[in-house]
């Protein structure tokens, strides 16, 4: 069997380790930029973060090496990660519209979209109506729980 190059041996384990190394480098750069770790013999605000960063490098490199020794290869199954990406996207939209259009409308849109995403059976008009009904009930119940029972103020919307 032909020997694979390091690049070919990159799988999800080693890829995540590489991402961690990259993020860690940004963190370390920011630490060095912020202040000296030791000044006049005194430990400063970046000393401890720099130590943590060095330890993270060591652990991430160990994981990277273990990753390239694995037999598995990098593969993406869009069918598997498609839904999580959709959930992340929907949640991001929800965060962005939450304050401006208020709790009720934003939450109804968010929950309804999630309902369809987690739908077990499709093709029935009845199901769609049921989803809308359940959405309204969930949004109303959580409103009652937070605002009425626990006295938490939820936004009513800036555009209205």
């Amino acid at each position: 069997m032909a020997k694979r190059s390091v690049l070919e041996r990159i799988n999800s384990t080693s890829l995540l380790a590489l991402v961690l190394i990259l993020v860690n480098s940004i963190y370390l750069f920011e630490a060095i930029k912020t202040a000296e770790p030791i000044k006049n013999g005194e430990v400063g605000i970046t000393f401890f973060p720099i130590v943590a960063s060095i330890l993270l490098y060591i652990a991430a490199i160990i994981i990277f090496i273990a990753g390239i020794k694995e037999k598995s290869v990098l593969s993406f199954q869009l069918s598997r990660i498609g839904k999580p990406i959709m959930v992340i996207f929907l949640t991001l939209i929800y965060v962005l519209i939450f304050k401006s259009i208020g709790y009720f409308i934003s939450s109804i849109i968010y929950v309804l979209c999630l309902m369809f995403l987690f739908e077990e059976e499709s093709g029935f008009k009845k199901k769609k109506l049921l989803n809308i009904l359940f959405t309204v009930i969930i949004v109303a119940l959580i409103y009652i729980l937070y605002q009425k029972i626990f006295g938490v103020r939820l936004p009513i919307g800036e555009v209205f």
């Binding site: 430990v43 993270l56 273990a66 077990e120 359940f134 626990f150």
Partner: protein, 511 residues
């Protein structure tokens, strides 16, 4: 004497109807979250976190105790009935319990799991009440350098407990520490790691981190699962029929198992609970292995034996009492649930430690009482009253369940500071935790790193400050030396000693 009085007053407070109802409510919520595969007691308390802001702290804490005890026990329901542990701590119960279910002895297995959980939970709670006051006295003796070494010891145990991948445990813990460094420095009025983003000056709140790590990441994991997989579980569950009268274990069965199995399991669970980051699954595993090692007939393990269920369930419920001792006295949580309960305390402005345990003991005592009552009274009662319907609660509609969790989680993220920035942080933390979970990084370590990171840094810098920057202070103070030596001892036991290969023995017995 003062402590005994305090605990009795705690029981008195607990039995006020307006307080007791919260333990019951917590227990029912915990039973549901523990029983449904994917949902955990940690998630339940994480979702409860935002509402504790406006709740009375005593009610919040007793509710958490109900969830904790129930969540630890109810994982056994699906473990026994359909061989899918509702919580990781029920893994060993699934091995024995499902075999019994296949033989038509499901109710007996469920009854035994509840009985063992009751014994383990009760012993754990009693030990908590006895040990906690002594732990407070010990905590008062530890000075700043010793506190640094103690947290260092906690980190080492948290990381080494991930025996399958110590490096991944280390990465998750350090990431938690790094996230905690964002914002104003703990000792000087200077901002760090804001990357030019103004809202980051206030740092990342504990609430978005907890909710993101446990709720949003779970939502993302669940969204991956196909509906067919879920429908199959529901179909399997609805097939099962369980009769109430079979729940009660007989004296003969208890004698056969041996009282020592329960007590040993409880003690193992309690001490594992005290160790940071270990938790219910490790306790159940070690107790099961010990029961197998000391059994007269180890060949029956893996074929559906009550002894295995008793050992595992007694241990995982005793963890609850153990995990609260370091959390309340040193701010070091023993497991994930204790870490989130620590979050409840911090968010409500309470700092665990000797002061909390002495001057504010009236807030903590009802919590001890709630744990005890949950184990001894509510747990068996719940099984007897709701047992035949347990299976139904697990079959709740998935889309309603996860849509509700998503909404509670995101609104909870907003409630922490009334800002959409922390809501966004909740999502970001959820995505980070999801990616880490996909690669088997322990997210509990991330949380522990986040909670303990600022503390270890503070003690480290303060120790150096009081000793003119000389690091030798960590090796000259007795309290610090003790914890540094403990690191060496635990390193030996957790890395050098080979464990029992349970899997191999079980496979052999089954074949």
């Amino acid at each position: 004497m003062d402590n005994l009085l305090g605990i009795l007053q705690g029981f008195q407070t607990l039995f006020i109807p307006g307080v007791f109802i919260y333990v019951l409510l917590g227990f029912i919520v915990g039973t549901f979250f523990g029983a449904v595969p994917g949902l955990t007691a940690t998630l339940a308390i994480a979702l409860l976190l935002p509402v504790t802001y406006s709740m009375d702290i005593v009610k919040s804490l007793v509710m958490c105790m109900g969830i904790y005890m129930a969540g630890m026990y109810s994982g056994s329901i699906t473990a026994i009935t359909i061989n899918i542990p509702g919580a990781p701590s029920a893994m060993m119960t699934a091995i024995e319990g499902n075999k019994m279910m296949e033989r038509g002895e499901g109710a007996k297995a469920l009854g035994q799991a509840a009985f063992a959980s009751m014994i383990g939970g009760t012993i754990g709670s009693i030990l908590l009440m006895i040990v906690a006051p002594f732990a407070v006295k010990l905590a008062l003796l530890i000075k700043t350098p010793g506190k640094f070494s103690l947290i260092l010891f906690a980190f080492v145990v948290v990381i080494l407990a991930q025996r399958k991948s110590i490096a991944k445990g280390a990465v998750a813990t350090i990431l938690g520490i790094m996230i905690a460094t964002i914002g104003i420095d703990i000792m000087q009025p200077a901002a760090r790691f804001t990357f030019g983003i103004d809202p980051l000056v206030q740092g990342i709140d504990l609430m978005p981190l907890i909710i993101g790590t446990f709720a949003i990441s779970e939502l993302l994991i669940q969204s991956e699962k196909s509906s067919d997989e879920y429908k199959l579980i529901n179909k399997e569950m609805l097939k099962q029929k369980i009769s109430r009268r079979d729940f009660l274990p007989t004296i003969k069965e208890i004698k056969e198992i041996g009282l020592m199995t329960y007590i040993k399991g409880a003690l193992i669970g309690y001490f594992i609970g005290v160790l940071p980051g270990a938790g219910g699954s490790m306790a159940a595993f070690i107790s099961y292995a010990e029961a197998m090692r000391s059994s007269n007939d180890p060949d029956k393990f893996g074929t559906g034996t009550l002894e295995g269920i008793a050992a595992a369930e007694s241990a995982n419920n005793a963890v609850c009492g153990g995990a609260l001792v370091p959390m309340l006295t040193f701010s070091i949580p023993g497991d994930a649930v204790a870490a989130v309960v620590l979050g409840v305390l911090i968010i409500n402005g309470l700092q665990p430690g000797p002061r909390l345990m002495t001057t504010q003991f009236h807030l903590v005592a009802p919590m001890f009482a709630a744990l005890f009552v949950s184990a001894l009274i509510i747990l068996p009662l719940t099984l007897y009253i709701l047992g035949p319907y347990f299976i139904k609660i697990v079959t709740i509609n998935r889309k309603i369940l996860y849509s509700s969790i998503a909404l509670v989680a995101m609104v909870g993220g907003y409630v922490s500071t009334y800002s959409t920035f922390q809501m966004l942080m909740t999502l970001i933390m959820g995505v980070i935790a999801y990616v880490l979970r996909k690669q088997n990084y322990p997210t509990v370590s991330l949380l522990l790193g986040f909670i303990l990171g600022p503390m270890i840094e503070k003690y480290f810098r303060r120790s150096l400050y009081i000793n003119d920057g000389n690091p030798l202070i960590f090796f000259t103070q007795w309290d610090s030396i003790v914890f540094l030596l403990l690191i060496v001892v635990f390193y030996y036991f957790l890395t050098k000693r080979k464990g029992v290969d349970i899997k191999e023995i079980i496979e052999k017995n089954r074949s």
